[in-house]
Symmetry: C2
Subunit: 377 residues, 2 copies
């Protein structure tokens, strides 16, 4: 078997030999071979022996130090340091039924949005003595479920998932095991799940209203696919809501759905502008900054400029968006803050300071910049 080699390496390393000498007077190679054989790491009971206390006391020094006298505490810490002891997480987890692991499932690591959320979570979790398992679903709910199952097997004590679009089994498993979880990034009052994020629908209504107030009446939208992405569905809904109030709707030919790439943004823009000046939209609402930036690049190649020839909006406020020419009108969400809040809530529930996760709404900020203006007369 493949794993035998690894075990053998450990079996014969220096630590293991030392240990054998000090605890097994009759120790011979044969005897050692018959024994189960540890992994060569220093164990808690060696610390206990060196400090002249029981294993229970060593454990308490690190888990409930207030229950141990100052003097003994020092002696044990000293011994642990001298032996360079690192507690074995599997042993701890098995005995305490606590793993101190949390999980997060995000769609992708490929943009700064979720990276910021993860970094916020990680800082809070690490302060709370937790480690983070990270899974990327690549926008595939089934893959997300697989990742979640793997995390459950590893005994995560809490889970954060981006968005609500996950197979029901995911939430059922979580509920069945009483694992606290939180939906991040999106927020809705009517969600059956605790969520920390913003209202995608309201945000896109707000963007649309900004364009309506500038006088735009012919709208187009370039969006990422809404299949298995509740956030996108909500965003499109928000656009429709606001337009409906003004008695407007987007024609099928002016609603373009495709991958969230610069290329798709560019190609879509070219397609929209291929229509006659009278027919083509004056305002283009993009599902995110990436698509909008792609459109702006195509515009430059076509000799078109915003806001002179058209207005355009994004969403995310990427670092480059406020620096681009024209500076992009977009909305910013504090994703790091979402991560921080999500992790804090999860830790509070795990620690029993709170009975359940408190949903929180984050309000995105609209940054009105050069890419939007009144339509040409």
């Amino acid at each position: 078997m493949a794993s035998d080699r690894i075990l053998r390496l450990w079996h014969y390393d220096g630590e293991a030999l030392n240990k054998r000498q000090s605890t097994d007077v009759t120790g011979t190679v044969a005897a050692a071979k018959r024994a189960r054989g540890g992994n060569g790491r220093v164990k808690l009971d060696e610390v206990a022996k060196r400090a002249n206390v029981s294993t229970a006391t060593v454990s308490r020094v690190f888990n409930e130090p207030e229950k141990v006298s100052e003097e003994v505490r020092q002696r044990v810490k000293e011994a642990a340091r001298a032996l360079n002891w690192i507690p074995n997480a599997a042993g701890r987890a098995l005995a305490s039924r606590r793993t101190h692991i949390a999980g997060a499932i995000i769609p992708t690591l490929d943009n700064e949005i979720f990276a910021h959320q993860v970094s916020g979570m990680q800082s809070v979790l690490s302060d709370g003595g937790f480690t983070l398992f990270l899974g990327c679903s690549n926008y595939d709910p089934d893959e997300g479920l697989r990742q979640a199952d793997a995390m459950l097997a590893r005994g995560v004590e809490a889970l954060a998932v981006v968005g609500e679009n996950h197979p029901p089994e995911l939430f059922e498993s979580l509920d069945a095991r009483q694992i606290p979880y939180v939906v991040t990034y999106s927020y809705s009052k009517t969600s059956p799940h605790p969520c920390i994020g913003f209202d995608n629908r309201a945000a896109f209504s707000r963007i649309t209203e900004h364009l309506l107030s500038l006088g735009h009446r012919r709208f187009a939208a370039i969006f990422q696919p809404e299949i298995s992405n509740d956030r996108v569905r909500e965003r499109l809904g928000g656009v429709s809501d606001a337009l409906a109030s003004a008695g407007i709707r987007i024609a099928a030919k002016d609603l373009l759905i495709g991958p969230s790439t610069l290329e798709f943004g560019a190609a879509s823009f070219a397609q929209l502008m291929a229509q006659g000046t009278k027919a083509r939209p004056t305002a283009i609402i993009c599902g995110n900054d990436n698509i909008a930036l792609g459109a702006l690049m195509a515009a430059r190649e076509l000799g078109l400029d915003a806001p002179r020839d058209f207005s355009i909006t994004g969403f995310d406020d990427l670092a480059i968006s406020s620096r681009f020419s024209p500076r992009l009108t977009t909305m910013k969400v504090d994703n790091q803050q979402i991560g921080i809040l999500a992790a804090s809530e999860l830790l509070a529930v795990i620690a029993g300071r709170q009975a359940q996760i408190q949903s929180k709404e984050i309000v995105p900020v609209l940054h009105i910049r050069e890419s939007t203006g009144a339509p040409a007369k």
Copy 2:
């Protein structure tokens, strides 16, 4: 204690009650309270009972299926499925001294470079039955060491770290515990560590030679800090090497070091161009695409254009770089491939198929685009 609440929840959940009924005839609430109390999850021995086999057999069905007869195998799988059993990772880890966890320590998640590497690693590891612990050092070696220690406590079986710039204790711990590891992203023949990546020095020599061959003689460089970043140090070295061969060096005033942001790129460019036309550099070598893009944005605002007024290069080939105007001359590294190779090597060593990690050099590709040309006469 905070954790009591959690345990109590588990103690009284449905699964636990069922289990008690079926295994403890004299069971009363009092008896249950005296017992240690499981965590409510279905255990392997319940699967064994239902399938009428020993626990050893159940274990074998999932770990060494070839050792179990077809018939028994089916019965056990059936029972496991019916009970919805998920093996407890801590139990497995403790008994087998295998955690099936690997770790990766990267500087940041905030750009697509390392995200691609992580995604490459994750796909290979997941196919090999491994889960990934991810740690971000934020370019702080001490933070990286802390993360590595936390991972060792969790029993990672292998570790990938970006770059060689880590405290020696990190590599010492790894060696002491015989944990296979690999340095990723950078590669050098003389490294004491196995590495999978590219030669930063050679890459930047190549970029510099491209500019020299176009006829440039006055050079500037805008770089991220080289403190605790061996990759940056190598890159600057590569520039110097190539320039030295042509008898050229960069004046102190033309070597600008600062944060890897669009803003720093923009500010640095403005500063360089503030010099008189005769004195200022005609070629600007940037430490990465982000800095170069910032410089190009500043150029636009100053009414300067590449390659007419200056030439500029980046590194990374971000998605936006080939779409920007002017399209950026830069080098591309297949980071996903680095991740895939690193994970494959680590798994091969863990599985004993290989005695040690094989270093591999990846060759970056130079993309010559619009941002570089011959200097103005």
